[in-house]
């Protein structure tokens, strides 16, 4: 039968994300997947495109006092702080714990640009690191705590410096807490970034009316989950039209349907984030669901979907 012929046909699921070869377009978002080994009991990590590990700093950091998370309408707030094992333990302990064939993107964040560059240098030549994602949502100490990604000239300097520090494929994870995401996307492209990951969490606040205090110890937190997905889709669509480097779509992806929307809006690949918490098989199910959609729609390759949003003209 014709349908069977289509379903048996090979579909090409591999994509190239700014020099990072992925067997399929699904990665896991930094901070939502630990260092990967935590998910090994649930599925074979070589069945997804790759993992973006928890952001690492130069030194190990302990993070914020609790409460660190809170549930919100169709979403959650978090202010974990900088808790991580540090770059040296990441290289020595966390990467070797992953099975051969798992594609690992290291995520880097710091409080000063020179420290970002130093972390990138230490990652240079680590054979298992397929690429580096610069987390630009960290507060910049010298700018009074504003996120690196919130000021174009600071972001430009960050990308320029880290670009010089590493020959590895360099993704920049953009902060959504800006007036015009297209400007930030163009800055990254101009400074030599190989791709954009977007979006990080939206700055947010929730309040306990009994105590009249913020629900998080830190005060502000980052909003994630399905609540932010339409915002993320809008930004991915805008940025992907503004630059030629590939975009990796992130923001409230719960299932394959959500991920396909990002591809249609111009994302070359996606990252599954908060969904990993409530469903440790989420990334695998997203990858399988995208492949089924590609097959059912008679496409030869997943990349045929990318940037196919049709906007009716008046």
């Amino acid at each position: 039968m014709g349908g069977r012929t289509v379903s048996a046909a090979h579909v090409e699921m591999s994509v190239n994300l700014g020099g990072i070869a992925l067997r399929n377009p699904v990665l896991t978002a930094s901070g939502t997947f630990g260092y990967g080994a935590e998910f090994a009991p649930f599925f074979d990590l070589t069945r997804i495109g790759g993992i973006v590990a928890k952001s690492i700093t130069l030194e190990p950091r302990q993070g914020n006092q609790p409460p660190r998370i809170a549930e919100t309408a169709a979403g959650m707030l978090n202010a974990i702080g900088l808790e991580n094992v540090g770059v040296d333990a990441f290289i020595a302990e966390k990467i070797p714990a992953l099975a051969e064939g798992v594609v690992v993107v290291a995520s880097v964040f710091e409080t000063e640009i020179d420290r970002y560059a130093e972390v990138c240098k230490r990652l240079a030549g680590v054979p298992r690191v397929a690429g580096i994602e610069i987390n630009a949502s960290c507060p910049h100490v010298k700018s009074g705590g504003i996120e690196f990604g919130q000021r174009a000239e600071v972001l430009a300097q960050l990308v320029r410096t880290t670009r010089r520090a590493t020959p590895a494929p360099l993704l920049v994870k953009l902060s959504p807490n800006v007036t015009d995401i297209r400007e930030m996307a163009r800055v990254c492209e101009a400074e030599g970034a190989d791709g954009l990951s977007m979006i990080n969490t939206l700055q947010a606040l929730d309040v306990d009316i009994a105590t009249r205090r913020p629900v998080l110890r830190n005060g502000l937190g980052g909003l994630s989950g399905p609540a932010i997905r339409p915002v993320a889709l809008r930004m991915v669509w805008q940025a992907s039209q503004a630059v030629r480097i590939p975009v990796c779509g992130i923001g409230g992806i719960m299932n394959a349907e959500d991920a396909i929307k990002f591809l249609i809006c111009g994302a070359t690949a996606v990252q599954v984030g908060t969904a990993n918490y409530l469903n440790p098989l989420a990334a695998l199910e997203v990858a399988e669901g995208i492949e089924a959609y590609v097959r059912e729609n008679g496409l030869a390759r997943v990349s045929d979907l990318v940037g196919t949003l049709e906007v009716p003209t008046r």
Binding site: F42, P66, G75, Y277
Partner: protein, 274 residues
């Protein structure tokens, strides 16, 4: 010292029973093919309102619940969970009907360390915290004498008394309004029990944070430690969201899901526990 959890599953479990035990207290029984069993103190993450693939995203996060007990089951292994319908997630869970599905991730966490053979065990439970103690009472009762002290606001709020009694353990009850058993707090029963201190009882507590803190103080006053099972908000239950942090006595941070939920009470910086 403690055995690690069996490899956790993620599975949509069939609701076999979900009934009110009076007031807001509920008993949920789930059939889980391939359930590896749980050690005393293990917990599961439950996503209320899950029906097959149609996951609900508001409320977004699963709820951590102690595995009350594992049953052989007619068709597949079953687990029971005791909970109180008090918020959005647990109210939704209370709506689950027989034949619905609830998403389960587990078993998770570091379980209780069992008492040494021949040593008596004192178990103190308050509210739904008693759910963490049933399997412990069952296994400890094979090793030595067990006294279980259960507390609640009033008699109607007590859960599981018949189950514990059926284990053949010594059961002591406290209610704050005196409607059943000792009038007062369950930790007062612990004080009485320790007044006749043999010096070698293993002490366990699970319940509201102030109750566990008090139990820890009573134990510490006699130079003893007690194991407690902490509760906290958590998004994942297996050590990645880092949301369930609690401060440790040594100034470091522990995750309730990965480093606990069972802790030695003297390792916990109680002032910082939510």
């Amino acid at each position: 010292m403690n055995a690690p959890a069996a490899l956790p599953l993620r599975v949509d479990a069939a609701v076999l029973e979900n009934r009110s035990e009076g007031g807001a207290n509920y008993r949920l029984r789930l059939g889980i093919a391939g359930w590896p069993g749980a050690a005393p103190g293990h917990f599961v993450m439950l996503s209320p309102g899950t029906r097959g693939a149609a996951l609900r995203f508001d409320p977004l996060l699963p709820r951590p619940m102690a595995v009350y007990r594992t049953l052989a089951g007619a068709a597949s292994p079953e687990i029971e969970v005791l909970y109180k319908a008090t918020g959005r997630g647990t109210n939704l869970l209370a709506e689950a009907r027989v034949g619905d599905f609830v998403r389960v991730v587990g078993p998770l966490g570091v379980p209780f360390a069992l008492p040494q053979a021949g040593r008596p065990a004192l178990l103190v439970g308050g509210g739904t915290g008693i759910a963490s103690l049933y399997e412990l009472a069952a296994r400890a009762s094979v090793l030595g004498p067990v006294v279980v002290m259960l507390g609640a606001r009033n008699a109607a709020d007590l859960m599981g008394c018949d189950d514990f009694a059926a284990l053949g353990v010594e059961l002591r009850i406290a209610t704050e309004d005196g409607s059943r058993g000792h009038r007062g707090r369950v930790t007062e029963l612990l004080e009485v029990a320790l007044a006749a201190d043999r010096g070698d009882e293993a002490i366990y507590a699970c319940g509201p944070t102030p109750m566990m803190r008090r139990a820890a103080e009573i134990a510490a006053a006699r130079g003893r430690c007690c194991q407690v099972s902490l509760e906290n908000h958590m998004a994942c239950g297996f050590g990645v969201c880092l949301g369930c942090a609690v401060p440790r006595a040594d100034g470091k941070i522990a995750l309730v899901c990965r480093d606990g939920p069972v802790f030695d009470a003297d390792q916990v910086a109680w002032a910082g526990v939510p």
